[in-house]
Every structure is written in structure tokens, then in C-alpha cells.
């Protein structure tokens, strides 16, 4: 193990030597991931693997770099706010086509954004379209989105929200072709070929509007830290997003935020003392340090530290409350999430010390999501892929905890700020005010980290925290074997 780690470190150091080389086409990027993507639908992505896959399959109107800069992608340009930030005119680039050849028009843009409000999809990103006029909570239709021609979408907002285009850079707002069949068609650099139980395989989409990816194909396989490290060291994989003990690699912004959701409807009068018990028993810093694998930051405020730096500052913990004797609660955890499992076990131990028996119930993702959406839980560990715009990120949480109307009101308040800095300050202030009111106890925010073997270059992250694998290339693409040649 030690030898393997040393070898891996040397290899990772060697990767920097590629800087300055000219990118090459060809080869396959083999990526070892801790969990395979489960939702091949941008409106429903809830994990870093989902985010990664969404970036491969689908394209957005524009993208946002980690420094905040927006670059047009499917849109001809990033729209400027009109009518005091209540109207946006989105123009598409001509000649765009989905992976099946269908042209990309204003109609697909409108339907893709409307999907976020569709109650059947229960998208955790509905906040993205809440500023628009006429968002129907029953059908998901949005009156504020109109086609101004084949390639123009006119978006009317109910209130000023000048930062709306920034939010639409998130992969959740990808443009998709939804004809009722699965998988959905997108305009991303890769096409889904195999969606198996242990491997997901993608092939390059040569006519991608943003340009053909460097690699011919990309595969994702499931692995743990041992197998991922070994495969990288042996060049059996090019990349991994699995958390390894070794330092190095490229790290994105920590925007995958985890919260303890308390259901007041189930807890009743005990909601407040239970929350206080958790706050008293858990030191979020220790929790993150000892029980969360991979790059993560403790989160003391509602928003991840990447959006609100003050959120990383520890706060005084309340005293332990008096809980009813023999109290027993059930904590819902999504199975397959090892970090949440470890955190749940820690909670179990610490709450046990306070006399509260915590039963852990693990559910597969569909059942977990259904239980949380339906309010069928007492406590749940939920994960939110935060939109890298403070106001929208807060609206995401408010929508999750209090509903869309409350979220819309938050957006209305925040959108009233004079400029971007003022709006962000407003969002952070509201987050601080809402912290004790929302039934969400912030825990930590995770980032994705990509480790690559030597010979792999070009890997970066966008503002949403998704690695840009389409930009990755191999300096030594494997030679194509002749027919009959043994490997």
C-alpha cells in the first residue's frame, strides 16, 4: 500500500510536466468513480457523479468559469438584462443540433427550462425558474418564456433578478430533447452508449456545438480508494474522482452541501429540542474531519463556504436540551453514500450520549427521494448540489424546506439589490437570518477532486464544481492493436 501510494505520488507529480504541450485527439479516458451516475437527467442530478455525467451529455446556454466569467455555449451571447433586470432575450446559435440530429430551437430551450418546474420531476433546481412570470406549480408551464422566433427565447421575470443568467450556467439548466424516451438527448460532447450496473460508457459526439472532445471515448467504472489508486498507478485508468489519501489532483469548488433535515410535521413539539440536541452534540468541524472522505469543509452557515466564506467560521454550540426519556427517532440515509453513512453513525453515537436513540434507515435513492419529497421522515441526511449563485443557492434550500412560494419571495428580495455585490450581501444576510428558521442543520460541503495519471492533461472544473472531462486529453493515446494481436 505504501509502495503504491509512493508510486502514485510520483505519477501525479509527473502530470504537471504536460503543461504547455499541444492537446491531442484520440484515446479513451477511463474514469474510476465512487458511485455511478444514477440520474441521466440534468433536472434531477443529486451527486457529483450525476453532475459529471450531465456535463458530458448535455450543454447549457452558457458556461461559468470558476472565476465567475460566463462564456456563451449554445447561446450566441450571454444576454444583458433589459427592463431593469426583468427581461432577457436569449438568442441561440444557428445550426445547433442534438446528438440525434434534431435541430436545437427556442421550443427546446423553453421546454428544457419548463421541466425544472414540472411537479412530476420534483427537480431540486426549480429555484432556477422561479423568477419567471407565470410559473405553474401544477403543470410546470411557464408563461414568462416565449419564443421570439426559431432561435430566440424571450424571458419575462416577475421581478428583477439581474443574476438570473449566471444561475442558468448550472448543468441543471442544460438544454435537452425530451421526447418521452430515455436516455434524454443533449448537445454535450459525449453520447451515452452503455449504461450498465458497473460501467457507463460514452463516445465522442463529433458535431458537438462546443467542439469535438479530445478523447474518442470515455468510460466510468465503479471503484473504492484501493482499486482506484491501484488502477491509476498501473495506468489501468486515467482519472478518478474517488477520494484517496494521497494529496494532489485538481479540486473543484465545494458546492455539494449536506444537511440534516428535520421534519417539523413529524417531530411536532420536539422539533426544537431535537435540533438543539444535534447542535449541542455535533461539532461540525470534527464531524467533517473524522467522518467525511475527500475534500470537504465544515459548514456552520446555510450556504457552502464557497459561496459564503463566513459559513466556515465555527459557532458557539448550545447546551444540551432536556429530551423525553426513551426518545427514539429514525434517521433516513441514502444507501450508497458512504459519507452520509459514517456521519449518521457519528450522530447515532453522540445522540446516544444524550439519551436519544437514533435508528438509521437506509433507502435506495428513488425511495429516499420519494420519502423526503413526501415528508415521510423524521430526520434525513440530504445532499444539495448548490447553484453557484448565492441567491439561487439560498432559494434552493428555502424551496426544499419551505416551498416554492417562500423561495420566490427570497429571490424577489435578493433581486432588489442595486448591484451584484449588494445582491450577494443580501443573500448572505438572508441566509444568516434563515439559519435558525429553516429545518435544515448545515453539516459540510464537499468538492470533487480529480486525480489523473501522468499523460492526462486539460482537466479543469467549472463554477458548478463539475470536472470538464471533455477538455481532457491524452499525451500518449494507446496504440490501436492490429487484428489478432494479443494485448
Amino acid at each position: 500500500m505504501k509502495r503504491l501510494g509512493l508510486g502514485l505520488a510520483i505519477l501525479l507529480i509527473g502530470a504537471s510536466a504536460l503543461a504547455g504541450m499541444r492537446a491531442r485527439y484520440g484515446g479513451e479516458l477511463r474514469v474510476v468513480v465512487p458511485a455511478l451516475p444514477q440520474a441521466q437527467d440534468p433536472a434531477q442530478l443529486t451527486s457529483s457523479s450525476d453532475l459529471l455525467s450531465a456535463r458530458l451529455l448535455f450543454g447549457t446556454l452558457w458556461t461559468q468559469a470558476p472565476d465567475g466569467a460566463l462564456s456563451p455555449s449554445l447561446a450566441a451571447a450571454v444576454p444583458e438584462p433589459e427592463a431593469s433586470g426583468r427581461f432577457f432575450r436569449i438568442r441561440l446559435r444557428p445550426g445547433l443540433r442534438f446528438q440525434d440530429g434534431t435541430p436545437v430551437t427556442a421550443r427546446e430551450v423553453i421546454s428544457s427550462l419548463s421541466r425544472l418546474a414540472d411537479p412530476k420531476l420534483e427537480s431540486p433546481y426549480s429555484a432556477l425558474v422561479l423568477p419567471l412570470v407565470g410559473v405553474s406549480s401544477s403543470t410546470g408551464k411557464i408563461g414568462g418564456l416565449k419564443a421570439g422566433g426559431e432561435l430566440e427565447v424571450q424571458a419575462s421575470l416577475a421581478f428583477a433578478y439581474p443574476d438570473w443568467p449566471r444561475a442558468l450556467a448550472h448543468p441543471a439548466a442544460s438544454i435537452v430533447l425530451d421526447k418521452g424516451q430515455r436516455p434524454l438527448r443533449g448537445t454535450g460532447p459525449f453520447v451515452l452508449r452503455v449504461d450498465g450496473p458497473s460501467t457507463v460508457r460514452y463516445e465522442a459526439f463529433p458535431d458537438c456545438p462546443t467542439g469535438r472532445p479530445f478523447a474518442d471515448s470515455l468510460s466510468m467504472t465503479l471503484g473504492d480508494s484501493r482499486s482506484a489508486g491501484r488502477q491509476l498507478a498501473l495506468s489501468a485508468a486515467e482519472l478518478t474522482t474517488v477520494s484517496l489519501a494521497e494529496k494532489g489532483g485538481t479540486e473543484g469548488p465545494a458546492l455539494q452541501a449536506s444537511y440534516l433535515a428535520l421534519n417539523p410535521a413529524k417531530l411536532g413539539a420536539q422539533a426544537a429540542p431535537v435540533r438543539q440536541a444535534f447542535e449541542a452534540a455535533l461539532e461540525v468541524g470534527d464531524l467533517t474531519r473524522f467522518f467525511v472522505r475527500g475534500p470537504a469543509s465544515p459548514m456552520y452557515g446555510l450556504l457552502p463556504p464557497a459561496l459564503d466564506p463566513a459559513s466556515s467560521a465555527p459557532r458557539a454550540r448550545p447546551a444540551s436540551p432536556q429530551l423525553p426519556a426513551g426518545m427514539e427517532l429514525t434517521l433516513l440515509v441514502e444507501s450508497g453514500d458512504e459519507n452520509h453513512r459514517a456521519v449518521a453513525e457519528r450522530m447515532q453515537v453522540k445522540l446516544h450520549d444524550l439519551g436519544l436513540a437514533l435508528k438509521i434507515s437506509r433507502l435506495p435513492r428513488p425511495a429516499f427521494r420519494k420519502a423526503v419529497a413526501g415528508g415521510a421522515y423524521e430526520l434525513a441526511l440530504v445532499s444539495v448540489m448548490a447553484i453557484p449563485e448565492a441567491g439561487m443557492a439560498l432559494a434552493q434550500l428555502v424551496s426544499l424546506a419551505l416551498g416554492r412560494e417562500a423561495a420566490r419571495e427570497e429571490l424577489r428580495t435578493i433581486g432588489g439589490g442595486a448591484d451584484a455585490a449588494a445582491r450577494k450581501a443580501l443573500a448572505l444576510a438572508r441566509a444568516e437570518q434563515l439559519l435558525p428558521r429553516l429545518p435544515l442543520l448545515p453539516l459540510y460541503a464537499q468538492a470533487s477532486r480529480v486525480l489523473a495519471r501522468p499523460g492526462v492533461a486539460g482537466i479543469g472544473f467549472d463554477a458548478s464544481g463539475a470536472p470538464s472531462l471533455a477538455d481532457g486529453w491524452l499525451s500518449d493515446p494507446p496504440r490501436v492493436r492490429a487484428a489478432g494481436e494479443k494485448p
Binding site: R289, F290, F291, V292, E345, R346, M347, V349, A357
Partner: protein, 552 residues
């Protein structure tokens, strides 16, 4: 008490010793099983003590080995060189792997301050302080001691009783503590159960931490685990009780079977003995009722067979003797009848002879009054001849009395119709009646009519100066009824009483002496009797009672 009952009682009593002996036998079985169970319990207790000691030894050995294991050495060095973050150590699963490797149930890796860097048995404890581990390592390094711990379980926590040991491991200035142990848990209890066959429970005070099985009626041995708890070894008394119960059931079944067999045997014996005796008793009754020559047809053996044979021989002899006596009596009777008949016939012959001699003498003498003498003599001869004819007719009637034709007959109705003939009785005679209703007999109406006429005529003739005749129809119980005719005449003289029903015996002028003899015979032909029973209260007069069996 009947013989059959006596035999059954004897059979019952004969099985009583078995019943008395059963509890004693069961107590003996109980003592034997108790001794066996106590011996097994002592063995199981020794095995449990040895297993607990072995568990403690294994903890000490495992921790000593772990302290010098290269993996632990690497770990301490990595911490010392800051190559390994404490959080990474907690998340790496190292403690769980080492715990499994050393076959421990609990393992914690503590830093020099006692903070848990990693826990194999309760990963959620990482980051917490374990002061006891440090103290244990300082005070009794490597020596297992009993401790209460919590371990991860399917539903959160499970308390456990464990033997824990702690050791410090140093690398330069970096020190860690290894705290490891094995629990007296369910797996240990199950292994001990397999070894001893006993139920095993682990108690923390009164709280049950592990148990292999719940058994009924346990017999226990307790092995203390320090002052914290105990291991309880249990063997069930149930098997002993079940066996005892089974023996009791089998014995009871045997007793019941023996009782049943004895009863059946008694009944069979009783039937074989009592049936011939009953048959003999019935035979004796039949004999007494006149069924002479009655034979008892029962197959038997031994003394009973001899008795039956003797009875049958006696019955046959009695019939023969009776038949002979009847024949002799009949001969004697007919001799008497012949004598009486000759006498009766001879009596008229003398006047006839004398009349005829008178006529012959008068004719020879040429008497002038011969016609007168002839007429008187002829009259006398005719009267005597008429008397002879009547004697012969009655005798003929007596001798030819037909068999009665039986039919249901109401006595009151018969008596009423006979009394209708006496609606105008002779002067001075009064005929009274007391006729009970519903007295029905099986009888020949004409013959009973004749008997009743005969008795009423005798009664009236017995009172030439007049008097009262009483005709009664009375019940003599369920089996028979009677007609009684009583008069107020002179009664029956004592010297005549014995000959009253003898043919040709009469005290009446001109009587044939056959009336009562015929009446008696009719009564006998009907299975009844006719007797003179005298008046009630011993008054003057006679009373005849015709007794007949009642119709069924």
C-alpha cells in the same frame, strides 16, 4: 352382592399395589436424573470458566501481537511524520481491519491524549475521548479486565460485557494506545452452548446482554465477570420432568391397561361362573313352578358342570317320579270313580230287582191288585233307570270335558249376564253383587258360565230357609283376578272339607257329587284354582273363590 360384582371388585383391588408403587418409582427416577443433571451442570460451569479464561488470554495475546505488528508500526510512524491525517485514519477502516485480523470484538486506537483516532467496533466514536483506555494502559498494561462497552449493532447500539486490555505503542515522541477486547457476546455464548449443550446468558447486573435460548425450569450456575456482571449457565429441568411425566403416563397407561384386562377377565370369569349358576337358579324356579324335568343347557366345566349335571338328573328323576305318581294317582282316582260309579249304579239296581221280583211274585200269585203292583213297580223301575241314565250322562260330561277355548273375558260382564238368570230368585233368597270393573281374563266363556251357575245353585240350595248370596269380582293383584260366591248357609263341615271336590261326593239329597269336581277341573284347565275359603271374619256360611290369571 352378586358374584360378578365381587369378581370385578377383586380385579380392582388386585391392581392397587401398582398404584401405590408408582410414586415411589417416579421419585427414584427423579433422583437419578437429578444426579445426572447436576453432573452435567458442573461440567458446563467448568467449561464456561475455561472459555472465559481463554477469552481473556486471547485478548492479552492479540493486543501484544498487535503492538508489534508492522501495520501498527507504519501507522504510528505515519502519524509521527504527519503523513497521515487523523481524519483519514478514522475514515480508512484500519481499526476495523486490525480488529478482524486479531479476532477481536473491540479495538480503539487512541492518541496520547486518549482521543479516539479510530474505532473498529464503533466507528462513530472517532474524535471522542476515552480516558479509561489511557488509564488502563498506564495502570495494567496488557492485562485484560472486565468492562462495559457499546458496540455497533444492526439497530444502533448494543451494550456488551467485554474483557478489555490496553497497551501504549511509541514511535519517537509519538504515542498511541491500543485498546482491544473480546465480548461475552452472542457469538461467544453460542460457541459455549455448542461446547456444553447448556443455555448461556450474559448478564450485566440484572440486564440480559446475550442469550442463546430461553429455557423452561432452568437449573443455573453463575460465573461472575469481575463485579460487573456474570455468565449464567443453564440446563433445563424440563427434560427430567418430561421424562418423569412420560414414565408416569406410561405407567398410568399400563395400569389402566392392566385394570381393563383384569376387569375384562373378571367379567368373562364372572360370566362363565355365574351363567351356569343363574341358569341353575332359573331351573330351580321353573322346577318350583311345576316345569318338571326342566333341563339346564349350559356348557361348563369342573364343579359347576357336575352341579348342572346333578340338577338335570334330579329334575329328570323328579319328573319321572311325578309322572309315576300321577299315573298311580290317576289309577287310584279312576278306581275310586269306578267304585263310586259301581256303587251308584248298584244302588238303583236293587230297587229294580226288587220291583221285578215283586212283579214276578205277584204274577205267580195271581194277585188281584197285580195291575196296581205292576204300575207301581214299573214306575219304580223307570225312575231308577232314569237315575241311571242321569248318572251316566253326568259322568260322560265329566269325562269328556272339552279343552277351553280362551278369549278375553271381562269378569264383571260375565257375572252380570249370569245374574240376569236370577232376576227372580227363590223366595227368601237375596242375591247381591260387588263387581269390580276392568278385570279381564283369558277364559272360555261357556265353561266359566257353567262354573258360576254351579256355585250359585249350590249357594241357593244351601239356604232352604232363605238368605243372602254375594257374588264378587275382585282383583288379587296384577297377576290374577277372582270370582267369589258366598252364602249364609250351614257352611262346610270340617270332615267334608277334604272331599269337597271329590267326584261323586255330595251331601245333597239327589246330588251326583260331580258339580264341584267339574268346576275344579274347569278352573285348573284355565290355569286357575277353585277353593272354599270360608267367610271373612269366620261367620257362618261358605265362600268359594275361583281364581284366574289375568289377561296380558
Amino acid at each position: 352382592m352378586r358374584l360378578r360384582t365381587k369378581l370385578v371388585l377383586v380385579a380392582l383391588v388386585s391392581t392397587l399395589p401398582f398404584v401405590v408403587a408408582l410414586p415411589w418409582a417416579l421419585r427414584a427416577v427423579q433422583r437419578a436424573f437429578d444426579a445426572e443433571l447436576n453432573s452435567r451442570l458442573a461440567g458446563a460451569e467448568r467449561a464456561a470458566q475455561a472459555s472465559a479464561a481463554d477469552l481473556s488470554d486471547k485478548v492479552g495475546r492479540a493486543l501484544s501481537k498487535l503492538a508489534v505488528d508492522p501495520a501498527v508500526e507504519d501507522l504510528v510512524r505515519s502519524l509521527h511524520d504527519a503523513k497521515l491525517d487523523r481524519g483519514e485514519l478514522a475514515q480508512s477502516g484500519t481499526a476495523a481491519r486490525l480488529m478482524a485480523l486479531m479476532e477481536l470484538d473491540a479495538l480503539e486506537i487512541l492518541d496520547d491524549q486518549g482521543r479516539i483516532l479510530a474505532s473498529g467496533h464503533l466507528p462513530g466514536r472517532a474524535g471522542d475521548l476515552d480516558g479509561d483506555g489511557v488509564e488502563l494502559a498506564s495502570r495494567q498494561p496488557g492485562r485484560p479486565v472486565p468492562r462495559r462497552i457499546d458496540i455497533a449493532a444492526a439497530n444502533g447500539f448494543a451494550p456488551a460485557l467485554a474483557m478489555l486490555a490496553a497497551l501504549p505503542v511509541d514511535y519517537g515522541a509519538t504515542r498511541i494506545y491500543l485498546v482491544g477486547g473480546r465480548t461475552f457476546g452472542q457469538a461467544w455464548a453460542e460457541r459455549l452452548k455448542e461446547l456444553t449443550g447448556a443455555a448461556i446468558a450474559v448478564l450485566d447486573g440484572e440486564r440480559e446482554l446475550a442469550r442463546t435460548e430461553a429455557i423452561e425450569l432452568p437449573r443455573q450456575a453463575k460465573i461472575p465477570v469481575g463485579e460487573l456482571g456474570s455468565v449464567v449457565v443453564e440446563l433445563s429441568d424440563q427434560a427430567v420432568r418430561r421424562t418423569k411425566s412420560q414414565i408416569a403416563r406410561v405407567a398410568l397407561g399400563l395400569w389402566l391397561a392392566a385394570l381393563g384386562a383384569a376387569l375384562a377377565l373378571a367379567v368373562i370369569l364372572a360370566r362363565r361362573i355365574s351363567r351356569p349358576v343363574d341358569a341353575l337358579a332359573q331351573g330351580a324356579r321353573a322346577l318350583a313352578q311345576g316345569s318338571l324335568g326342566h333341563q339346564v343347557a349350559v356348557s361348563s366345566s369342573g364343579e359347576i358342570d357336575e352341579l348342572v349335571r346333578a340338577f338335570n338328573a334330579m329334575s329328570s328323576d323328579l319328573r319321572s317320579a311325578t309322572d309315576r305318581a300321577v299315573v298311580a294317582e290317576r289309577v287310584a282316582a279312576w278306581q275310586g270313580v269306578a267304585r263310586r260309579l259301581a256303587h251308584e249304579i248298584k244302588n238303583p239296581l236293587t230297587p229294580i230287582r226288587m220291583s221285578v221280583e215283586t212283579l214276578v211274585a205277584a204274577h205267580r200269585a195271581g194277585r188281584s191288585d197285580f195291575d196296581e203292583i205292576f204300575r207301581e213297580s214299573a214306575q219304580a223301575v223307570l225312575e231308577e233307570v232314569e237315575r241311571l241314565r242321569r248318572i251316566v250322562d253326568e259322568f260322560s260330561q265329566f269325562a269328556r270335558l272339552p279343552k277351553p277355548t280362551l278369549a278375553p273375558l271381562e269378569l264383571a260382564e260375565l257375572a252380570g249376564s249370569v245374574l240376569a238368570l236370577y232376576s227372580s230368585p227363590p223366595e227368601g233368597i237375596r242375591i247381591d253383587r260387588e263387581l269390580g270393573e276392568g278385570l279381564q281374563v283369558e277364559a272360555d266363556r261357556d265353561q266359566l258360565w257353567q262354573v258360576l251357575i254351579n256355585l250359585l245353585t249350590n249357594a241357593i240350595q244351601a239356604m232352604p230357609q232363605g238368605g243372602r248370596v254375594l257374588l264378587r269380582a275382585v282383583s288379587l293383584g296384577e297377576g290374577s283376578a277372582a270370582l267369589e260366591v258366598a252364602d249364609q248357609g250351614p257352611g262346610i263341615a270340617a270332615e267334608n272339607r277334604a272331599r269337597l271336590f271329590e267326584p261323586y261326593f255330595t251331601t245333597k239329597e239327589g246330588g251326583t257329587g260331580l258339580g264341584l269336581a267339574i268346576a275344579l277341573r274347569i278352573a285348573q284347565e284355565h290355569g286357575g284354582t277353585l277353593e272354599e275359603i270360608g267367610l271373612e271374619g269366620g261367620g257362618r256360611g261358605a265362600r268359594f273363590r275361583l281364581t284366574l290369571p289375568r289377561a296380558r
